[in-house]
């Protein structure tokens, strides 16, 4: 069962526009929420991450908005560029016993930014 639900599955945005990708989760034990960017033929690359003690984190054109009460978080890409065209994955994680922090991924959003 998917612990993190991501939408939309695909997104087309014009250059200069704002891309918004949403994720929702159920497990309140999650306490780390990263976003990954993946280009074809490459591994996912960590883009930006947030902990639930803050409601927003911004790094350059990328912003995570986090709503703890609604158990939702979203990625906003401002001034979207054709080079941002990639697949984006949200994820959630928590520490369990001694065995690490495995990530639970959403199914991904394919973003296309048109010139």
């Amino acid at each position: 069962q998917q612990q993190v639900k991501q939408s939309p599955q695909s997104l087309i945005v014009q250059k200069g526009g704002i891309s918004i990708i949403n994720c929702a989760y159920e497990n309140t034990a999650f306490d780390y929420f990263p976003w990954y960017q993946q280009f074809p033929g490459k591994g996912p690359a960590l883009l930006i991450a947030i902990r639930p003690d803050v409601s927003e984190k911004k790094e350059g054109r990328f912003t995570i908005s986090f709503n703890k009460s609604a158990k939702q978080f979203s990625l906003h890409i401002m001034d979207s560029q054709p080079g941002d065209s990639a697949t984006y994955f949200c994820a959630a994680s928590y520490e369990y016993s001694n065995s690490g922090y495995a990530l639970n991924f959403g199914k991904g959003t394919s973003l296309l930014v048109t010139p």
Partner: protein
């Protein structure tokens, strides 16, 4: 790159044969993970390791085994490959996070594309 290599990068094998994929890291990180990526499923955890000879199962571990005899190497074995194991396999690493901003960050390798015919 986070100092992670995977080998082979591509492999075609026949149903019923054993296959071993290798993940090698140069970061001396404690935690290592194997994920598989399939269209419509995102990435799903197969097995993970929290130290040498310390491993545990993930979400989709059936048909897979792992071993970690050295910090730098984490092996994934498909004991008897099936067509349903055709996928792209990613290794990831993370350090034992104790500082804000470092905790939980996982870095992924370039992947191995496995086709089982």
């Amino acid at each position: 790159d986070a100092g992670i290599t995977q080998s082979p990068r591509h492999k075609v094998t026949e149903t019923g044969t054993p296959v071993t994929l290798r993940c090698h890291q140069t970061e001396n990180h404690r935690y290592m993970y194997w994920y598989r990526q399939d269209p419509g499923h995102g990435l799903r955890l197969i097995h993970y390791s929290y130290g040498v000879k310390d491993t545990d199962k993930g979400e989709v571990s059936d048909g897979y085994s792992v071993s970690r005899s050295k910090t730098e190497d984490f092996l994934l074995t498909l004991e008897s490959a099936t067509s349903s194991q055709t996928s792209v396999y990613f290794c990831a690493i993370s350090e034992e996070g104790i500082s804000p901003g470092l905790t939980y960050e996982q870095y992924f390798g370039p992947g191995t594309r496995l086709t089982v015919t």
